[in-house]
């Protein structure tokens, strides 16, 4: 990788080290519990254990990632993988240090993604802007290194795959229908293998129902405890202003599991309705991509699809907006208009923090 990128990585890592004593949300405790859970229990118990309110509700690959992290943890900081979560003996909690350092280290994948996506850019100035927008992203700093999550790592995977898709032009170009079909089948196989590796063990254990229930907690309500600025909030506000709402507002925004009825006046919104709305919103983009697949637009399209999911999805977290803000950072340098879109979106999402 080039020196310039390393410089940005170095400075931002200094800042991450400085941020280690800052505020931590319950997400920190959640991830700590998962670390101990995946380390102490066999996979067959990962999705059934209910000894703590912080039950595992991310897909199996993330659980495997936590398991990988627990391997060094059990050597370096044994108290981190203890399911009883012992209190730290000194004022500097070694578990906090370990967890914070895993977030900072896993960001290396994000940097790899940035490197792959910017490698082809000719001008150093453009690359520098991308480094600033993504490597130094204040949103990621706040959500990952203060609030505590692993978004940098996950977005890194996204950026790497986007970079591969963009590069795909050379491979895809000019192939006949038959070759195209073959590629399609090959891609299908790859996707299938990944899913099989991820969910296979749980199919084997006969726990698919349980895993899916954890991954898609429809009982948590339409909106998350901290409202994401999406369509449903506007709808809710309209209902609140114009009509009498019989359901109490508190249940509407419940963050924990529990069925809640929402709109009294508006028609009942079910997960299926939100899914259909998302599909309708995405369809113009999908149609365009189907008619004229252009690798250079892939980032924009993916970001658009994420935005649709964010606006109309069921139980969306406000942090989900990272998924379109970060990839758009790559597009923002293309024109003034793109830069403006990026700026508005990132400001709107920032004041939710």
């Amino acid at each position: 990788m080039e020196a310039e990128l390393w410089w940005f990585i170095g400075t931002v890592t200094c800042l991450k080290v400085l941020l280690h004593p800052s505020y931590r949300s319950t997400d920190y405790d959640v991830h700590r519990h998962w670390l101990a859970l995946t380390s102490s229990l066999p996979p067959s118990k990962w999705y059934t254990d209910e000894s703590s309110p912080h039950t595992l509700d991310y897909p199996p690959l993330f659980a495997a990632f936590e398991y990988l992290l627990s391997l060094p943890a059990s050597l370096v900081v044994p108290s981190a993988v203890d399911l009883r979560h012992p209190e730290p003996s000194s004022t500097v909690d070694p578990v906090v240090l370990f967890q914070r350092s895993t977030v900072a280290l896993s960001d290396l994948l994000l940097f790899l993604g940035v490197y792959l996506s910017t490698r082809k850019m000719a001008e150093i100035g453009r690359r520098r802007v991308v480094y600033l927008l993504i490597v130094w992203s204040p949103a990621l700093l706040m959500v990952d290194h203060v609030h505590f999550q692993y978004n940098g790592f996950l977005l890194g995977i996204l950026l790497v795959s986007l970079a591969c898709l963009e590069k795909g032009r050379d491979l895809m170009g000019g192939g006949g229908l038959k070759r195209g079909l073959l590629r399609f089948v090959a891609m299908g196989v790859v996707v299938g293998v990944v899913f099989a590796a991820s969910f296979g063990p749980f199919v084997y254990y006969g726990q698919m129902q349980q895993v899916l229930r954890r991954l898609f907690p429809f009982g948590r309500g339409l909106c998350h405890a901290y409202w994401a600025p999406n369509f449903w909030v506007v709808a809710f506000l309209l209902a609140k202003l114009g009509f009498s709402v019989t359901a109490s507002a508190a249940s509407f925004t419940g963050g924990l599991v529990g069925e809640s009825s929402t709109f009294a006046v508006l028609p009942q919104v079910t997960p299926i309705v939100t899914f259909l709305l998302v599909m309708v919103a995405i369809s113009p983009c999908l149609w365009k991509a189907w008619r004229n697949p252009q690798p250079k637009h892939i980032i924009r399209w993916v970001a658009y699809a994420y935005t649709c999911g964010f606006l109309f999805g069921w139980h969306v977290h406000e942090k989900a907006s990272l998924h379109f803000v970060i990839p758009l950072g790559l597009v923002a340098i293309n024109s003034l208009e793109d830069a403006r879109h990026y700026f508005v979106l990132s400001i709107v999402r920032l004041n939710r923090e």
Binding site: T11, C14, V92
Partner: protein
């Protein structure tokens, strides 16, 4: 033509400078989230409790009782030992930020060791205490640094530039970054918890005023610095010599000196007004400011007295009085050459060297020096960053090493490492490409430097990992001090030589002008 171009560049620099200021603030906020001196360590706690205690005192007692032992003011428990301006600052902070929000934290006597909402280490960032430190930085140190950087470009930078006369934005921004990202200053102020940014900020403002030829403003600002922390006197010889030298070159030297003296006298009178009702009251305050009974040095300082005490037991061999004389004599002797140079030939650049030389000789030879006093010579070293980048790199490294045992005690190791790394990253970012490489130094010097660096890294590591032998519990501290002192002694010889070499250069320029 040229001034128009300069104007344009200075407008171009603004966003970069603002970004620097923002980043510097962010770093300060981050460091202040970490531990501080004496955290959770009763009964005396540390400097953090001292600052809180002074706010408590100044908020509840009349000024004349601040420095006097009494029922409500136990001088043995963090008695006020800075000049009145420091106490006024405590009063202002107490009134503005703390009394309205959490009066409990400043309750007379009962609030000792109060840590909770006042501290921000409890993961609930308490806003008042954050404003406290940031306001001192934002109101005093940052504006002073900004004005200095621009004044430097106007007074010294332009002369240095080659033919095209174009000021490079990035050079100005880099210079600003060197001043704002001084890791030692951030660690002591926002980690350990002190208000050096105020007295150093006033000093920096005074230096900027001198560069812009406003000598009266400079003497006002420097008097304020002296009245905030008496340690600012480390710079006094340089200010005195430079202003005297300049006045002597004017038409009516006596009148010039009189004007400057009047400003100083007036400032002092206003600041000390609550104590001027009797000589006894003044002496009371003064005796608090000069705690001679605390010995010639405290803890482990990389200065002459502490380092040589490994061989010569000064504290046993000499009486307190003779030590006082000895140390003042040595300090004056070492400061004298740079003062003479400034009186003979006062110049802006020479003044910056003189500031460095005089504050460094005070650090190395004067009475009752703390390890934190290294911040004073560090300030002129950052100001000279464009002229002496290698000097800055060396002294910053060894200044941090000399404070390493202190910061270890404060549990600020992560902050130490991160700030040092950040400084190194910024230091080499532009330094490599924009500043002309000096002619390569002799091989023997390079070898010595490399050796010193290796020793430093080993000592960092040893101090953190190993337990000292029981017979010599302070062995590692002593080693660190000896290494730092050897480097500091070399540096001070070098900078004194450089200052005197300036004399040669400026007279050469004069000769050339005359010839033309």
């Amino acid at each position: 033509m040229r001034s128009a171009a300069a104007e344009k560049t200075s407008r171009m620099e603004t966003p970069a400078a603002l970004a620097m200021v923002g980043l510097a603030l962010l770093v300060r906020v981050c460091v202040s989230m970490g531990p501080y001196s004496g955290m959770g360590n009763p009964p005396k706690y540390g400097d953090y409790e001292a600052q809180r205690h002074w706010m408590e005192l100044s908020a509840h007692l009349p000024p004349r009782d601040w420095y006097r032992n009494g029922t409500n003011n136990d001088l043995s428990y963090w008695g006020l030992d800075y000049p009145p301006l420091s106490a006024y600052q405590s009063l202002a902070h107490a009134r503005l930020f703390l009394l309205p929000f959490s009066p409990d934290s400043l309750a007379l006597r009962s609030s000792r060791g109060y840590e909770s909402p006042f501290s921000y280490c409890t993961h609930s960032l308490s806003l008042p205490s954050l404003y406290l430190l940031l306001s001192s930085d934002l109101l005093i140190f940052f504006p002073a640094a900004l004005s200095f950087v621009y004044m430097y470009q106007a007074a010294i930078g332009r002369r240095q530039r080659s033919g095209d006369g174009k000021a490079d934005d990035s050079v100005v921004t880099w210079h600003l970054a060197m001043i704002l990202f001084n890791p030692a200053l951030i660690l002591i102020d926002h980690g350990h918890f002190q208000y050096n940014c105020i007295s150093l900020g006033f000093t920096l403002g005074a230096i900027a005023a001198i560069l812009s030829k406003k000598d009266l403003l400079a003497s006002l600002l420097f008097s304020l610095a002296l009245n905030h922390k008496q340690m600012s006197a480390y710079f006094a010889p340089a200010f005195f010599a430079h202003l005297l030298g300049k006045s002597l070159k004017r038409q009516s030297p006596v009148f010039e000196v009189f004007k400057l003296g009047l400003v100083v006298l007036l400032t002092f009178t206003i600041v000390w007004s609550p104590y001027l009702y009797s000589m006894k009251a003044v002496m009371e305050v003064l005796s608090r400011l000069a705690p001679f009974e605390r010995g010639i040095y405290e803890d482990y300082v990389a200065n002459f007295w502490c380092t040589s005490s490994i061989l010569v037991k000064w504290k046993i061999l000499f009486s307190l009085h003779s030590l006082k004389l000895l140390s003042s004599g040595a300090t004056i002797l070492i400061t004298l050459p740079s003062m003479v140079q400034q009186i003979k030939d006062p110049s802006d650049l020479g003044f910056l060297y003189a500031l460095f030389n005089s504050s460094f000789s005070f650090y190395l030879f004067s009475f009752q020096v703390h390890e934190k006093s290294i911040l004073l010579p560090l300030l002129p070293a950052t100001l000279l960053a464009l002229r002496e980048p290698q000097l800055l790199g060396l002294i910053m490294h060894f200044a941090l090493l000399s404070m390493y045992p202190l910061l270890c005690r404060d549990r600020l190791i992560f902050q130490y490492a991160a700030l040092l790394a950040l400084f190194v990253l910024i230091f080499f970012r532009i330094n490599g490409s924009h500043i002309k490489k000096k002619e390569s130094s002799p091989a023997i010097l390079k070898f010595l430097m490399t050796m010193a660096m290796c020793c430093s890294f080993t000592l960092h590591y040893i101090y953190m990992i190993l337990q000292p032998p029981e017979k010599y519990p302070f062995l590692f501290e002593a080693l660190i001090m000896a290494l730092c002192f050897s480097q500091f002694a070399m540096l001070t010889v070098y900078t004194n030589m450089k200052q005197w070499m300036l004399l040669g250069i400026s007279s050469e320029i004069l000769m050339e002008k005359k010839n033309i």
